[in-house]
Structure formats: C-alpha cells, structure tokens
Symmetry: C2
Subunit: 467 residues, 2 copies
C-alpha cells in the first residue's frame, strides 16, 4: 500500500488530499512567498487519528509537518519543495471541549480558530486575552506552537503564560495527556514548556487548557500623536506606574507607517488633525465597574502639558475604537499591497532601548540603503518592533533578494549590539534558520539539538525548521 | 589529591567545609526531619568557580547537590546519608548585578536572599511580587529551581512567570549565559524553562534576570470570617470580577488552623469578635493613586448582605496589616511547635473544587483517622491547599510513621480523584518521590528521564531527587 492509502485507512479517503487543486491552500504560505509540494495533506478528525498517523509515519520514515491556520510569517508550515512531506492539518480538531466561567478555564482543540475561542469566552462573560491580526484564521494549536504574542502581551503575557496544560501527540505516535485545570503544579519537569514555541518540531499539539480572565466591563482606547519614539517610551514608563497595572496594549506606529496605512486604505481616516513623528495606540481595560476614563484623561492632560503628547483622541464609541485598531491592523496588508516582496523583521531589544534602536537603524538605513525605506511599528511595551523594509516609492529597479539579505544582516547585527532577539514573536521557521544558527551560542544549540534528538530521534517532524 | 583538596584549589581552603561543626547547618533540612552527611560543603564565590567545581566533579564522578537557603520542605537540598555527596552552596553568589527601574528588570545572583531582592526593588520604587514565609532566608536560585509560589501567585504568577532569563552551570561544567532583559524572545526552544522547577537536578542556576512591577501606591488588606470554605470560593469568584484584576492575595485559614495559630502564639490576637468556620485574608494593591478602599468596602458590604461574609476587619495601619499576615505566616511555626513531627501536604485541585476537596478529606479523616486532626489553609485563589495532619491534642501514644504514610496515601488518592496535583508548589525532592513515580504516567516519566539523561548523563547532580 502507498502511504496515501495507509493514511486513508486511518482518516477516510475524503480526508487525504493529493490533487493540485485540493492541496493548493496548504502548500503555499500566507504571504505567498513559499510554495512547496505535499506528498499528501491529511486531515484527522481527532487525537486518536493524529496518533495513528504519527505511528504510521514513524514506522515508514515519512516526514510530517503539522499545520494550523497557516498564518505564520516564517514559512514553517507549508511543505518542502521536494514533495516528500505529509502535511497534517489540525483543522478538523476544532471543538471547544469545555469552558468553566467560575474557574476561568477552557479546554480547546488545536484546530479551533482563535476568534471563535475569544468569542466563546466573551459569551460566557470571560476573556481570553490573546489577540493578533490573524485571529480570524489562526488556530490555537499554532498559537501554542509559535508562542504567539500580539497586542495584549504586556499585561497578560504571551501564549506560554496563558496555557495551563497541553495534549500532545509525540513524533512516535504516543499521546501525552497533559490537559490540566490546575493553576499550580510542581510535580516534576514542566513538560508542556517543551512544546510551547517549538514550532511543531518536537510534537503535535492536539488540545490545550487555557486561562481565562473576567470579561472587561470598560475599555478605554486612545490614539495619540507624539513628538518622537523617545517620548513614546517615556510615556510608557509613566503609563506603567500611573494607569494602575491596567494597561492592556501600547502600540507604536511611526509616521512612515501611519502614512502608508492611511495612504493605502483611504477609508482609514487620520484620527488626529496634526501630523506627528509617531503615534501610540493605547488601551486600558478593567472589570468590576471601575471608571477608568477620568484617570486616563488626567494622565493624558499631564502628558500634554509636559510635551510628551502633541495631540490625542479618545474613542467615544465601539466604532471609533474599531477604527483606531484598523489603522494598526491594516498596516500588514498595506505593506503587501504596496510591495508584495519586502523585508519583514520582528526584533526585540531591552524595552528602554527601543527608541535608540530605531534611531540607530534609521541612520544605518539612510547611510547604506537609501533605495529602501523603513516601516516601523510594534509592541513598544514589550520592546518589540516590526522594523520592516520596503522599496522607496520612486525606485524604478526591482530590489534584489541579495539587497534585502544585506539589509537584514545589518539589522540583525544591530540587534545583537543591543542584546536583542532576531525573533520576538514570529519564530524561526525556515526564513530565520540561518541567521538563528549564526547568532546562537554553541552551548544553546547543543541543548536544543539534544531536545530534538530526544523527542524526534528520526528527525521526521517538521525537518529543516528551527534547527 | 583528595576531592576536598581539589575543591580547595578552586575556591580556597576556607570555603571547603568538612568538620562536623562547620557543615551542620548544611546537612540537616529546615524542618529537622532529614540529616545527611556531606563529603564536603563547597562555597564558590562566582559563576566561574561553580563551573570549575562542576567540571572537576563531572570528571571525578563526584555527586553534587546545589543548596540555596535550605528552606525547602521536601528534603531535596541536604546531602544523602551515605556521605558521598558534595554540597555546593550558592550563598556567596549574592550580588544584585543590576536593577533598571525604568525598564522594570533586575539581575541577581542565585544566592541573593529573597527579602533583600524585594527590598532592593522597593528602594528603586519597584516591586518584585514573589512572597513566601521563608523570604528572610530563601534564595533566588532556590526560588527558581523550585518554581516557588507563595501568596501573590494569583495575580503575578509563580517564579516561572517572573523570570526573564537564567545563567546556569550545566552538570558537565559548561556555562549557559541565558541572562536576558527581553520581554519577548521566540528564537528556538525556551531553554530556561528546563531549569525552572527542576529542583537542581538538571543544572545549577547561578543568576537570574527578573521582571519587576511598579511599586504599589496603595494596599488594602481585609481579614474576613466566613460561614464555610464553599462561601470562600464563591466570594473569590466575585472578587475576581469585582475587584478589577487588582486582587493580589486570597488566603484561606480554616477554623482549626486559626485556633492553632492564635492558641500557640497568643500575641496573635484574633482580629474578629465572632468565630467563624473559616477565614480569608485578602489583599488588593494598585499603583497610580487609584483609591481602592471605597470599592473594597462596597464589595464587602454586598458580600455581608448576601451572607458570604459574617464579619470582617480592614487593616487601618501598616501595623494592623502586618498583624493580619502574622496570623497566616505563624501557622507554619505553630504546627512544628505543637507537633514537631506531622504530615505536610501541598496539593492543588481545580480551583472551583477546592471546598469540595476539603470536605471530602475532612470526612475521610473523621472516618478513618480519628486520632489525627487536619490543619488546612492555603492559597485558595490558586486551588492550592496545605492540608496538613497533626496528632489529636489528647492523643497519648505517638503517631507512627506508618500511620502518617497511610493518611498521606488516602489524601493523594483523593487528590487524584479530583484531577489534582500532589505538589502544587513544594516540589518532589526526596519526600514525594515514591508517590510521584506512582501517580505519573509512563509517557511523562520517560520524557522526564530523557531530559535528565540529556542534561546529566552521569546522574551526578542531585541524585535520588525527583526521579
């Protein structure tokens, strides 16, 4: 029997896809920058089927790559170009197994869409804080496997901090049932940590138990114009102290990024009447009926008196709040619209050094890459900036891949000088593998290779990603 | 050369202790329940010396056990009774390397005392939230290695969530410099997770970078009498929603525990005029000048109207707040005072089931162990209860070890029925090793053994602990 026939014996023929048409949405990454070939796409219905697939592939020496919503940005999920990999889609494991609005916990399968998980929490008067642009199509299993970040990290942490337990199918097909509703458990090594952020190279996450929080009863959202990124950092330091630990999001948008999103999508109207060097989208939220508005207004008044904020608008309606957020979220699409091929980075530096980092990068760009323009924005509260690089609008020649690589090398060297990370949230995947191997000390690589060898001695799970 | 001489060549003869007198405080655990024998106690001055010691011991096949403040409760730190282990004390690595009050980070060495770390944070107008009874003598390295919990977990998480990075000496003497000031870093596997909560069996933590928070500008502390543990859980659910995510601690003290602490230390005056079935010590805090008092008062008024709270006192001064906390914290000493040998447990169950668990345990105790009395208290907000067992006061015969073991077995079986953990925060060490190996599924044990083999193939680091 062929591997396709054996897979069909496990999941049914309808759930083993092999034709070019049926596999097309699984073999190309979201950005359209990577297209591979799949031996087959297999769509199991439950954990037992995932385990049976993995046992089979382990015996046969068949490489497998798990796929969630395929919204990753580092080309990890789509199959290799050799056509030797089976894509294991988790999309049919999409149930919400349980939700406890008293104990503030939820158990969901890997294929559940983040938005549906968030909605289910809200329906139960709870709140699941993970939020990112791809929330309408990314899946919880992928969020776990990439340790997803997003706009609410500064208050609630990354996905790692939101996971209480995991169910994982190991590369050899064994099932580890680590679903737990416990807030505290110090029995032995914390195995779930191995699989969070491992980008599907150590095991296949099939379900997760998650922390929930009270549904906020009030949200306050402000769009601010500031004289500099430095001012945005100073304001953030104040906000941490003065907004009562209730600051949920603090996003920076530099002027070029603002011009791009407004210019590309004119329906995004500029919320402020005066332009500024950079903008901050700030959100606080609270449960329990506390009124945050007067406190936020006073905070902003003082900041304006001190020249840290030039102009600002507070959302007066849900519609206005959504409009503020659309400006931020449309940035990603705007870059692809203007320059289908460009350089994306996702670096972090110690939070207090972020403005200095941006200034240093801008200076290097102007001196060495005048043909390219930076579009910088990001999660300033976490020291994380998406410092992306597009062609200058008036450029007539296409930018070569080599040119982008040189620019990336410059940015990564700068990041290293700032004791930063070349990947704050997107991960390594295929696109950053070489840079990652270059900058990572041998002692770390040897431990990571040891972990890979321990969990996946045949090297069949997501080969060529991360390590 | 003997191993002692070789150690002296690394750290100087003054820092290799071998006489009975000089080693005595290192060979007996804090409770006085375990006394071992050390081949030597070695006190390195810095990370390089720790590395040199580990290289030497790795070559010589010499077992080593790292020791922090020796305040653990599972007999992990003191050496074996065979006298074959070298105790490596981290106490001289006690510097605060750096503190950044703007970026809210701190880098401290493993031997720094928790209280001195907390004080240094407060001095810089910051806050390090880890707080437990042993804070005056426990050390940060031990807090990391045991993933310490304590009274502030429900808002700020356990030690795992407070660590940004680690410096670790591996069993073979290699140094992994994973000190990081980054809030987000998704480059490869998150190696620090391996060492947090590993109880010193996978590597020796020599330094840690930590998250800080704004220093609270207001604390509100209430001592409440409630009709039942069930009411305490209902009240907690309300508190989560109504106290604006600002609830820091929520401790339960059952009536027998209250009687014990007041009876043993009469200077602890009962804060309430009417006795109750159980008590809750609740604390909220905030930075930024928000006034929590009226909100807390209203919350408690409603709870009293609804019969969830029978009586309550709000701390009116720092002295009164300290007195409330002393009642809770003196509980530990009171148990040792009344019964130097007793049974300590540290179980957790899904938080909503905690009252049900306590009731079930009380029923089993009354039916099967009438000679023993439970003293239960704990971190209710985390589903974590210290359900300890002492002899009945009128008991004339001493309780045998076997009797306590039978009682522990009953409690652990009950914990399993509630999908709980036999160790929420204290860890496994030596005392819970057999129970841990009994209840842990083979797939988990095989992964944990694989991690141990990967990091410590010769099995020389803290042998006989955890696995």
């Amino acid at each position: 029997m062929s591997i396709q026939e054996e897979l069909a014996a496990i999941v049914g023929a309808a759930h083993v896809l092999t034709t070019e048409d049926s596999v097309s949405r699984y073999v190309t990454d979201w950005k359209g920058w990577w297209t591979g070939k799949a031996r087959a796409v297999v769509r199991p219905a439950d954990t037992a089927e995932v385990a049976a697939i993995m046992r089979l592939c382990h015996e046969r020496g068949q490489p497998v790559v798990p796929m969630g919503g395929n919204t990753g940005l580092v080309e990890a999920a789509p199959p290799s170009r050799d056509g030797d990999e089976v894509v294991l889609s988790l999309e049919r494991l999409n149930r919400i197994r349980s939700l406890d609005a008293v104990g503030f916990t939820m158990v969901v399968e890997a294929g559940a869409i983040l938005q549906s998980v968030s909605d289910a929490a809200l329906d139960a008067d709870c709140f699941f804080p993970l939020s990112l642009g791809a929330r309408g199509s990314c899946q919880i299993g992928g969020n776990v496997s990439t340790n997803a970040g997003g706009v609410n990290v500064l208050r609630w942490g990354m996905m790692r901090e939101l996971v209480l337990g995991l169910e994982v199918v190991l590369p050899d097909g064994r099932i580890w049932d680590g679903i737990s509703l416990l807030r505290k458990d110090n029995t032995g090594y914390d195995l779930k940590q191995l699989f969070i952020g491992a980008e599907g190279t150590l095991g296949i996450v099939t379900a997760a138990s998650l922390k929930l929080f009270p549904r906020p009863t009030q949200l306050e959202t402000a769009f601010l114009g500031l004289p500099s990124a430095e001012a945005a950092l100073t304001l953030f330091g104040r906000a941490r102290r003065d907004l009562c630990d209730l600051l949920g999001a603090y996003e920076l948008i530099t002027q070029p990024a603002m011009d791009l999103t407004i210019g590309t999508f004119p329906e995004n109207r500029h919320p402020l009447s005066t332009p500024a060097a950079c903008y901050v989208l700030l959100q606080t939220s609270v449960s329990g009926g506390l009124d945050l508005r007067p406190r936020l207004e006073r905070f902003l008044e003082t900041a304006m008196e001190d020249g840290l904020v030039l102009d600002g608008a507070l959302a007066e309606s849900e519609g206005q709040r959504a409009a503020f957020w659309r400006i931020r979220e449309d940035l990603v699409d705007a870059q692809y619209r203007v320059a289908p091929i460009h350089l994306r980075t996702d670096v972090s530096v110690p939070q207090v050094k972020l403005a200095e980092f941006i200034a240093a990068a801008d200076a290097e760009m102007a001196a060495r890459f005048p043909d390219l323009r930076p579009i910088a924005y990001g999660h300033v509260g976490d020291g994380n900036v998406h410092y992306n690089v597009l062609p200058q609008p008036d450029l007539t020649e296409p930018v070569t891949e080599h040119r982008y690589e040189a620019c990336e090398t410059m940015l990564f060297e700068l990041t290293a000088r700032f004791q930063g990370s070349i990947s704050a949230e997107h991960g390594i995947g295929r696109t950053k593998r070489h840079a990652f191997l270059d900058v990572t000390p041998e002692v770390e690589l040897s431990l990571m290779r040891g972990l890979k060898q321990l969990l996946d001695p045949k090297g069949l799970l997501s080969p060529g990603r991360v390590l």
